[in-house]
Amino acid sequence: MFLEIRLHGRGGQGMVTAAEMIAEAAILEGFYAQSIPLFGAERRGAPVSASARISESPIRRHSQVRSPQIVGVCDPLLLYMKEVFDGVAEGAILVVNHKQEPQLKGFRVALLDATGIAVGNGLVSAGWAILSTVIFGAVSKVTGVIGKDTVLGVINSRWKGEVAERNRRAAESGYDGVKIC
């Protein structure tokens, strides 16, 4: 198995953290994994992306993910950006943060109201919904190789107390709520 994942979001939504947690969870599941931020100057609100790789054998390459099988799209407006579809093969799964199913020919869509879940759990900073744990949960489910307990374990290792509780609930809602259309 060699799985490549790319997340597209906006600066401040927690894409880098989400990609890191996906890789961490995959390692806990016994795989080799890697997370790669596409780094620029950090600007809140600007389109950003982060990637992850999961493999049964050691991952040697360090180049950017170019042909992901799973793409997370954390803002439906990003679906209008061609970068989101760069190298994405037909049959890839797009995990889209939206209330309604977007019409995307050739791709499988997994729908999730990530913003609603984040806001519902009080995961808001400076007016921005923080989507890292919701997307982490949803994408982990879609990979088919990361269990929910592992997702919660990663969250427990990163946060404590009430903040951990809110992130656990968000990740769990993401994991259980993502719906492959």
Binding site: E20, I27, A33, H62, S63
Partner: protein, 389 residues
């Protein structure tokens, strides 16, 4: 566990029990010193953290600490390394066993925070041992080995190790640590027997060397760098035993046996080159990878041996010496007596993928078969620029 390359370095420096850390922040290195200061603040590491006002002062402080017999560490990148340069030479030519992590980053202008190797290679004549890491795990492993090599009585020279901006510094990968006991056995507590400054017995240092003395001083530094090749190999093989992970010494040869085309690479992209070699071999192209882990001392003999009989040699340089060519390409040419095809690629953080390396290998074979003259090729350059000769 999982960690970024930067944090891996911090874990390594902690395991190595560095005693003095003097540093100034710069992207993409800052996480290294942040993590170290966190270790010290939490009491997990016993070291003095000196917040200095510049990289020049950071290295000056490391030299001072080292002169008093302490195990000293700093980290920097790009502009910071250049600003430090005067003191980098001072540490190398003065034989202070300081260790430094360099997160390799393009030099400005124009501003760039992304990956390139020209910064670390600009310091290659400073009397330092220069190592380049391929993975997050290697960054950790190298940070422990670096102190042992630097402090070895046969060497007593500073060591810098490079990790590629972002593709290693900020990429998270699986990381296995060694136990503190194993680390202590591999790298005993500093005896500080390289100490030259003793406040109880004041003497002066930094005096002038007349033309009657200078040549011999330089010669002795040359001898120690030469001697370090064996020490680097020893440290790698001993660390392989301690960690259970096979360590590369001066070079790493990957599928080099019977190779018709050899990719000569450095740093984080080496893994992409190996994946490319696998793909090419599957298609019947006999490709191999020669990774230079150590740039100083330059492993000329190993390179000569590995490249012998190869139809096409493609040296991939993520750096450039204006008016000459790729730095590694030129050094390989001088080691082998034959110019390679010198690919200038991945400049300023441009992505360098498995497909690029496969393309480079095929291009080199084509040029060799067509009997084209050796020279530099700017790989993937946009616009109307013709490949330069």
């Amino acid at each position: 566990m999982i960690a970024t390359g930067n944090h891996a370095v911090a874990y390594g420096v902690k395991a190595a029990r560095a005693e003095v850390i003097a540093a100034y922040p710069i992207t993409p290195q800052t996480q290294i010193i942040e993590k170290l200061s966190e270790f010290i603040e939490k009491g997990e590491m016993r070291a003095k953290f000196l917040r200095v006002e510049s990289e020049h002062s950071a290295m000056a402080a490391c030299i001072g600490a080292s002169a008093c017999g302490a195990r000293a560490f700093t980290a920097t990148s790009s502009q910071g390394l250049l600003y430090m340069s005067e003191m980098v030479f001072w540490a190398g030519l003065g034989s202070f066993p300081v260790v430094m992590a360099v997160v390799t980053r393009a030099l400005a202008p124009p501003w760039s925070i992304w990956n390139e190797h020209t910064d670390i290679l600009s310091q290659r004549d400073a009397g330092w041992i220069v190592i380049m890491c391929e993975s997050v795990q290697e960054a950790y492993d190298a940070s422990i080995q670096a102190f042992r090599i630097a402090e070895d009585r046969r060497v007593r020279q500073p060591v810098m190790f490079g990790l590629d901006a972002f593709s290693l510094s900020h990429t998270s990968e699986r990381l296995d640590l060694i136990g503190q006991e194993e680390a202590d056995a591999f790298l005993p507590a500093p005896e500080g027997d390289w100490k030259v400054i003793d406040v109880q017995e004041p003497t002066t240092y930094g005096n002038m060397a007349s033309p009657e003395r200078m040549m011999e001083i330089r010669h002795s530094t040359m001898e120690r760098l030469k001697e370090s090749s064996g020490v680097i190999e020893e440290a790698a093989s001993e660390f392989s035993r301690v960690s259970g992970r096979q360590q590369a010494g001066l070079v790493e040869e990957y599928r080099t046996s019977g190779a018709e085309v050899m990719l000569v690479v450095v740093g984080a992209s080496s893994g992409d080159a190996k994946d490319a070699a696998d793909a090419l071999r599957d298609e019947g192209v006999r490709a191999g990878v020669l990774r230079l882990r150590v740039i100083r001392p330059f492993p000329s003999e190993r390179i000569r041996a590995a490249l012998q009989g190869c139809k096409a040699v493609a040296v991939v340089d993520r750096d450039y010496s204006f008016g000459l060519g790729g730095i590694i390409g030129q050094e390989v040419a001088s080691a082998t007596g034959a110019g390679p095809f010198n690919y200038i690629a991945g400049i300023g953080g441009r992505d360098l993928s498995v497909m690029d390396f496969a393309g480079i290998a095929r291009d080199a074979i084509r040029r060799a078969e067509a009997g084209e003259g050796r020279g530099e090729i700017w790989w993937g350059i946009k616009g109307s620029q013709e490949p330069s000769r």
